[in-house]
């Protein structure tokens, strides 16, 4: 059903099939709203003169109903093809919007975001005000050499405006240091200073952070602040930009014009843009992805991102339809643990549910009269059991703790350890998701908070479950040998007081994994 267009395409729920001759950045519009851009050469698969480009996962979730799908050449704005497509069983128009009805598009990080092309002119002024104020505070209050970077620099040099398909404003600072340890400390100090000035700041790694700025229309804009530094002969910009760039390309700073304002920029913006985006940086390309060398990404991961390496996975999981497949009734382990607690006179004692997930067991303990603290690094999953928890006679406090982050563990652990009383530590399925460093931090945390008594309840899949069918399919999982757990616990001064392994302990749908249950005491 072509609408008078030239390019032969096919659109269905799996993706878009285009001729192999199609190239460059292609915008995808649903009923006139840009929702995504792709590059057939890079994103497509297939031979015989056709390429299939799969819908991004985040977008596919919205595809239920009818829509007019248009492909538009991003540079020439020529409409290449338009088709009416029907997805799933729905008869309504497909809508890719947020809870407030604002249009969303897939950004270069693969997430659905609102972008500047949907931003009113007045909001653009507000964003620019915020950008200038953030740059001022970073420079004057934090003492950082701050300059415009990434998409904002690109837009400024190309045509003096922010790039429509971008959803964040980007600035960078040139670190005074040349060692990761000093660079991390410099960034921590800057975050602390910015927070003390009243900014809402989220740490994104050991060397970059985001400042959230509320906009007058109720939306908010993120200003990303990236650390950049020379180590040895290489120049690095967080995320993972790595290469050779002389300091003379950056200093002394000059200015560029963005939305009519003079903004601090590198001495040679063109050199910095070529370093960032490659020699083709002048040609607009919303489908652009960084193609970093995996070695460079691994280096930056280890330096700055180790504490967050599992966070995004779980954040995305609890935003995905899979989250609804996590049961909300209590696990068999929670029932078993409660009975053991009751038998030892702790029927209503304080339970720290570490890695509480959707809070199903936290809700159960609260229903049994326990005071519960639900700890997790993403608390998104807890929304599912909010009603259950509110009905329970016991109270559930929710706190964020990241077991991959030593500081989070030390600070949270110290606060519990300082309080009087005894508390139980409950961790079901947690060891399945932690790496060795996270496990190490769990032992540190449990031994701190149970220095006056209590027991640590652990349930996890053993390596015998490794290649078996899983309720949730492919997932980030660790299969710890119970012997390893016993050895590590002993090294931290703990004693295993109960241990069993077997099946039929933790059925999940059609999955019946081989499970270990271990109970540890940290006091004699």
């Amino acid at each position: 059903m072509a609408n008078g267009t030239d390019v032969d395409i096919r659109v269905d729920i799996d993706g878009i099939v285009v001729p192999a001759s199609l190239s460059g950045a292609i915008d995808v519009l649903l009923d006139g709203q840009r929702v995504w851009s792709f590059n057939p050469d890079r994103d497509g698969t297939g031979t015989n003169g056709r390429r299939t480009v799969a819908w991004p996962k985040v977008l596919r979730r919205h595809l239920d109903g009818v829509s007019e799908v248009s492909l538009v050449d991003h540079v020439s704005r020529a409409v290449l093809a338009t088709r009416t497509a029907r997805f799933g069983g729905g008869s309504e128009r497909v809508r890719v919007v947020d809870a407030e009805g604002n249009p969303l598009a897939v950004d270069k990080g693969g997430r659905l975001q609102r972008d500047f092309s949907n931003t009113e002119d007045s909001a653009r002024d507000e964003i620019m005000d915020a950008l200038e104020q953030v740059m001022h505070d970073l420079t004057e209050k934090c003492g950082l050499q701050t300059y415009l970077m990434y998409g904002c620099l690109l837009g400024a040099v190309r045509n003096g405006h922010m790039i429509g398909h971008d959803s964040d404003a980007d600035v960078a600072y040139l670190s005074a240091y040349t060692h990761p340890f000093d660079i991390i400390r410099e960034c921590t100090t800057a975050i602390r200073t910015m927070k003390s000035l009243g900014w809402k700041v989220v740490k994104m790694s050991g060397a970059n952070f985001k400042v959230w700025v509320p906009l007058p229309d109720g939306r908010r804009c993120g200003i990303d602040v990236f650390g950049s530094f020379h180590i040895g002969d290489s120049f690095y910009v967080t995320g993972s930009l790595t290469g050779t760039l002389d300091r003379s390309a950056l200093l002394p700073f000059g200015t560029v014009t963005l939305e009519g304002r003079e903004i601090t920029a590198p001495a040679k913006p063109e050199e910095v843009l070529a370093f960032t985006y490659g020699p083709g940086w002048r040609v607009p390309n919303p489908a652009f992805h960084f193609d970093h060398d995996p070695m460079d990404v691994a280096r930056m991961d280890a330096w700055f991102r180790a504490p967050r390496r599992r966070l995004r996975f779980w954040h995305d999981f609890y935003k995905s339809p899979d989250a609804a497949r996590v049961p909300t009734e209590p696990s068999a382990f929670a029932v078993w643990a409660h009975e053991r607690m009751a038998a030892s006179g702790e029927a209503e004692g304080h339970v720290l549910d570490v890695g509480s997930g959707n809070g199903r067991d936290a809700a159960y303990f609260a229903a049994r009269g326990h005071r519960v603290t639900a700890l997790d690094f993403t608390t998104l999953g807890l929304k599912q059991t909010k009603a259950l928890r509110e009905k329970a006679p016991g109270q559930v406090h929710v706190r964020s703790m990241n077991l991959e982050d030593l500081r989070s563990v030390l600070v949270t652990g110290a606060r519990f350890a300082h309080r009087d009383g005894i508390r139980q530590v409950y961790a079901r399925g947690l060891l399945d998701t932690l790496g060795p460093s996270g496990r190490d931090n769990l032992w540190r945390f449990a031994s701190m908070v149970q220095r006056r008594g209590g027991e640590t309840y652990l349930e996890f899949r053993t390596p015998r479950s490794l290649r078996e069918h899983k309720h949730f399919g492919v997932h980030q999982r660790t299969y710890v040998d119970p012997e390893t757990v016993v050895r590590e616990v002993a090294a931290y001064g703990g004693t295993v007081v109960h241990r069993e392994t077997g099946r039929d302990l933790a059925r999940l749908g059609s999955e019946n994994p081989h499970i270990a249950r271990i109970v540890v005491r940290w006091t004699p």
């Binding site: 990761p180 927070k195 500081r407």
Partner: protein, 83 residues
């Protein structure tokens, strides 16, 4: 770490030469990654000690509590809303 060093020190002649080299590179990569991660861990420890040491020595409980709260504020609070 001790295991890694032991593996690195093992004579390459103990194993098939190519297998030995690949295993040593893998062990080296793991050791390098572990060392890189120490920067963040050490920075965290130094930050916690620096913030707490003076009020702790002063035995000023209010300041210790305030320092802990401030440390919490700089944590990696994920951008999520609890229900």
């Amino acid at each position: 770490m001790n295991n890694l060093i032991a593996r690195l020190r093992r004579s390459p002649g103990d194993e098939h030469p190519h297998h030995g080299l690949a295993a040593r590179v893998t062990a080296l990569e793991a050791a390098v990654e572990e060392n890189r991660r120490l920067n963040q861990r050490l920075a965290d420890v130094v930050d916690v000690v620096t913030e707490l040491l003076v009020p702790a020595l002063d035995r000023d409980d209010a300041k210790v509590a305030e320092a802990l709260a401030n440390l919490n504020k700089t944590l990696n609070e994920p951008d999520t809303a609890a229900g």
